[in-house]
């Protein structure tokens, strides 16, 4: 039998239901695995084994009483450190929130609890979700389980690495510009970002409010769909959340929707900057779909090259305001050198924030400041609409869009830390999806010569998760990449 910690939710749910496995056994296996490998991977900032086992016992008791809650009941789900869990520290991998403990659960956490999931640990990330390598954590650097010298991607690097290393059965991440999909691709797991508004942002510590979404990492597309289905829905606490306008019975969709589909391939995503191995891999994936009877259409997303500047203006502007609440007054780091109201702010924030966070706050403050608002922020919001328009036009003729998730596989630690612009360009294929508010998934599509994973991105229509999952599921089931696990 394959190790429990590398099994899928669907496999484990069957074992739990048949009584061959208890949730306590599963949780213990995951704890043991984590204890064994996290020294190397450093995916977790912290975890509470006793608390997790207590949740597992509660799940077993429910099941014994005939009150099991569904496929997630008793399944350990790892949580990115940016999501609020009641009575747990929520640090966003920042010194700024060193001592902060949340008095409430994020809505997505509440919903996972209602589905019986075990809320498992605090996963490392780039500080306040700002970064693409998880090197911006104030606490530790997470390694890519496929090659410990390389980064796991970011900002949800801990969530992706924990999945790849078998330290959780599913994990949650957040995706503002690719922060789920890019690390999923780099760590060889499935990661998906829902349509903006599908999952409540209440309890997600905001980076860029108009772009942030919570989404799952999982071993398979079906698993990701199960986790998403448990979390979605309009929440009265988040005015931007919205009831899906599409199909949300994803399990049924995976069974029923078999294609063939019309799939768009944007030429702009295969040009300058793409790693040749990645390019070849994705072209192969496109060929596979063609071989399955799908119609492949060359499409154009002409404003694609503007996505990076638009994103970094919109996201940093929103962030500069969202992160203003970390001021040393009520709950965040307070400088001991604070002498008055001004230095209370300047010194606490100077000490509490890391370099990348400072860089983005300064940039965001600048683009909103007097005299620059129209040239930067307002203009970016207009171009954002043009980017959305590109997608809307494309979706008039295709069911989904296929692209690489990341232009390169995992890169070496420290390689881009001093070149923020180069780092920003690693999100080049993912951020336009956030700007347009669309759903997208990264599914493993193979490996480089040196054994690093590559991910295929499937971009769906707004609220078209069901179709998007089905398309990604077809590819996944036609290959066995997800069955390959890293040697640790």
């Amino acid at each position: 039998m394959q190790d429990l910690h590398f099994k899928t939710i669907t496999e484990l749910a069957a074992l739990l239901e048949s009584g061959e496995l208890t949730s306590v056994q599963l949780m213990q296996a995951v704890i043991d695995r984590t204890a064994a490998v996290d020294e190397q991977v450093k995916a977790f900032l912290s975890y509470d084994a006793d608390d997790a086992l207590a949740q597992a016992r509660a799940s077993d008791e429910r099941r014994a009483a005939g009150q099991a809650l569904g496929p997630l009941d008793g399944i350990p789900v790892g949580i990115k450190d940016v999501l609020a869990v009641k009575d747990q520290s929520v640090r966003c991998a920042s010194k700024m929130l060193e001592n902060y403990v949340s008095p409430f659960d994020a809505t997505c956490i509440t919903k996972l609890r209602q589905a019986g999931a075990i809320i498992w640990g605090r996963l490392n990330m780039d500080e306040f979700a700002m970064g693409s390598s998880t090197e911006n954590s104030a606490y530790q650097t997470t390694a890519n389980p496929w090659n410990l010298e390389t980064i796991p991607g970011g900002s949800s690097g801990g969530s992706a690495a924990a999945m790849a290393a078998g330290e959780a059965i599913a994990t949650l991440g957040t995706d503002t510009g690719g922060s789920i999909r890019q690390p999923a691709a780099l760590c060889g797991v499935v990661g998906m970002k829902p349509t903006y508004g599908l999952v409540s942002r209440y309890g997600l510590v905001a980076f860029a409010s108009s772009l942030d979404q919570v989404g799952p990492f999982a071993r398979t597309v079906e698993d990701a769909a199960i986790v998403l289905e448990a979390m979605l829905g309009k929440d009265l606490k988040d005015s931007t959340s919205i009831e899906s306008l599409g199909e949300t019975n994803y399990a049924a969709a995976l069974k029923d929707k078999k294609g063939p589909w019309t799939l768009g391939v944007p030429q702009e995503f295969f040009g300058e900057g793409i790693d040749p191995e990645v390019k070849a891999n994705i072209e192969q994936a496109v060929d596979w779909y063609r071989g399955q009877g799908c119609t492949i259409v060359d499409i154009s997303l002409p404003h694609s090259d503007l996505a990076v500047p638009v994103y970094y203006i919109v996201a940093t502007a929103e962030a500069s305001s969202n992160l203003a609440r970390f001021d040393g007054v009520r709950y965040s780091h307070r400088s001991e050198a604070a002498k008055d109201a001004l230095t209370l702010f300047t010194k606490s924030r100077g000490e509490g924030f890391g370099d990348e966070v400072k860089r983005r706050i300064i940039l965001g403050t600048y683009v909103l400041s007097s005299g620059y608002y129209d040239a930067y922020y307002k203009r970016a919001q207009k171009v954002r609409r043009l980017i959305l328009g590109d997608f809307e036009k494309a979706f008039e003729q295709v069911d989904a869009i296929l692209t690489p998730t990341s232009p390169t596989p995992a890169f070496k630690r420290g390689e881009r830390t001093d070149d923020p612009l180069a780092m920003y360009l690693s999100d080049i294929y993912t951020i336009s999806v956030n700007l347009a508010g669309l759903p997208a998934i990264s599914v493993p599509s193979g490996f480089t010569e040196s054994g690093l994973p590559i991910g295929l991105q499937v971009i769906g229509k707004a609220f078209g998760e069901a179709e998007m999952f089905a398309i990604a599921h077809a590819f996944e089931q036609g290959h066995d990449y997800y069955k390959t696990t890293p040697k640790l």
């Binding site: 994020a106 502007a317 702010f345």
Partner: protein, 488 residues
């Protein structure tokens, strides 16, 4: 050179809702520190604002009361500035698309004679928008304490055009505005409780010039007398500056109540770089046109309209209407009393004089906040009292006694008259005998009357009234005495 002042006001009014603007935490004045907070009020990581529909409706009602247009679409913006009383370090407000546009308020300038109507004019408004109140700072010797109870209370900011030219106009405006707001039930406008706060913008220009001078903004004007004093001080200060050949500096000034002077708060331009941008967490509001009309239909009659109507319809003098009409409750009480007995002048006198006097005597609040509903009298009490007088059952003299009694006990006047035997005596036999006694006992007065001094008759009335304990019908007595003397 002669200068004239231009004055604009910004008035913040706390809207009387049970819960806060962006969360369901309740608000009440005077609660123990930090007992009215929740995660949203404190700006905890992961929290999101949600609009309070009741506050939007009330603000729209306020707008309609002040003659504003209700915007088809309004939106929410962040005003970014750091201050320890601001939990998010941005204030949610409405920058370029406020809820209410334009509007004007009718004011009455006090007539020097005091007992005649003063000049009326309309002061133009620019806009009204909704925003949130910050928390409250208490400055102690070495540090500052923060209570977040007030944070998030809905505030309507009413911005006038620079359309006033004297402190008297500003005072008249504030009084009229206050009456309108209380009339519409939007706020109690208690300035001591911070329910209404005023900032004043003052500038001077040469008489006749069309170009406005540099303005200063006066903060912390927490009573109408402070507004008056601060404006007068500022006009003189600016006049001195200009006359000595200097330029007025654009700045914010703080009024010091104790010293009766203002001083510069900050003049750094930096302080005004608020980096407004649309709040990504809140959706715009489209105000339904039918709803606007429904709200308009519910508006009460405006105080000055009512005053004109009372003067025309009931023939009431200005001195009475100017007491009745600014107070909605009092004026409605008056009109309700007319339904018992239509004697407008008599009833108006009782309401405007006797009732108010008794209320004031027993009130802990200022004269501005007298509550008719707090006493035991109903409109029927006053109506019945007037009826008893008009029907000759009691004299006005006796009515005073009845009034005091019914105010104290809540008993109806007819019951009091009955119980105490206060009915006016119309027994001509008894009175005639008393009159003959009086004529016989005061020859001097009889002679004076006979010589043409009509008033001398009063000297004869006294003993009769005394003997009947005031119950003799004065008109009847007058007639009888004359008849007896003429006969005699």
């Amino acid at each position: 050179m002669d200068y004239e002042a231009t004055i604009g006001l910004e008035i913040h009014v706390q809207i009387k809702t049970r819960t806060k603007m962006f969360t369901a935490a309740p608000y009440e004045y005077g609660a123990a520190p930090n007992t009215l907070t929740d995660a949203v009020v404190l700006g905890l990581p992961g929290t999101l604002p949600v609009l309070n529909h009741a506050a939007i409706e009330k603000c729209a009602q306020l707008g309609l009361m002040l003659g504003c247009e209700i915007a088809e679409v309004c939106k929410w913006d962040r005003k970014n500035y750091f201050y320890p009383d601001s939990p998010k370090n941005y204030q949610l407000t409405q920058n370029d698309q406020p809820l209410c546009l334009g509007g004007e308020v009718e004011i009455e300038l006090a007539d020097p004679a005091r007992n005649a109507a003063g000049e009326h004019r309309w002061v133009k408004l620019n806009r009204i928008h909704l925003e949130e109140d910050p928390g409250k700072l208490t400055h102690e010797a070495f540090d500052t304490l923060i209570d977040f109870n007030r944070a998030g209370v809905p505030l309507a900011e009413i911005v006038t055009e620079p359309d006033m030219s004297s402190s008297a106009e500003a005072v008249a405006f504030l009084n009229a505005l206050r009456n309108l707001i209380i009339y519409a039930g939007i706020s109690d406008c208690d300035m001591e409780k911070g329910q209404l706060r005023c900032d004043a913008n003052v500038s001077l220009k040469p008489v006749g010039s069309t170009e406005l001078g540099t303005r200063t903004e006066m903060k912390n004007l927490n009573s109408i007398s402070n507004v008056k004093a601060a404006i007068e001080y500022e006009i003189e200060r600016q006049r001195d500056v200009l006359e000595s050949g200097n330029l007025v500096v654009q700045e914010t000034r703080r009024w010091d109540v104790d010293q009766g002077i203002s001083f510069s708060l900050r003049s750094k331009e930096e302080a005004h770089d608020y980096r407004y941008f649309p709040d990504p967490d809140l959706m715009p509001v489209e105000f339904d046109r039918n709803r606007v009309e429904a709200l308009r239909a519910e508006l009460p009659e405006r105080p000055f309209d009512k005053q004109r109507r009372f003067e025309q319809e009931y023939g009431l003098p200005y001195t009475v209407t100017t007491v009745l009409c600014p107070n909605r409750e009092l004026s409605e009480f008056f009109e309700a009393a007319l339904e018992t007995h239509h004697s407008p002048k008599l009833i108006a006198n009782y309401v405007a004089n006797d009732l108010l006097r008794e209320l004031a005597a027993g009130s802990e609040h200022g004269a501005q906040n007298l509550k008719v509903s707090a006493c035991q009298l109903t409109p029927a009490h006053i109506g019945t009292l007037a009826k008893l007088i008009d029907e000759g059952v009691i004299s006005k003299q006796i009515a005073k006694e009845v009034f005091t009694e019914m105010f104290a006990t809540g008993e109806l006047p007819d019951a009091i008259v009955e119980k105490k035997g206060l009915k006016q005596s119309n027994d001509t036999g008894e009175i005639e005998a008393l009159c003959r006694e009086a004529i016989a006992g005061n020859e001097k007065a009889v002679n004076q009357y006979k010589d043409g001094n009509e008033k001398a008759i009063n000297a004869l009335k006294g003993p009769v009234m005394k003997a009947t304990k005031g119950k003799a019908n004065p008109a009847m007595l007058d007639e009888l005495l004359k008849k007896l003397i003429d006969e005699g």
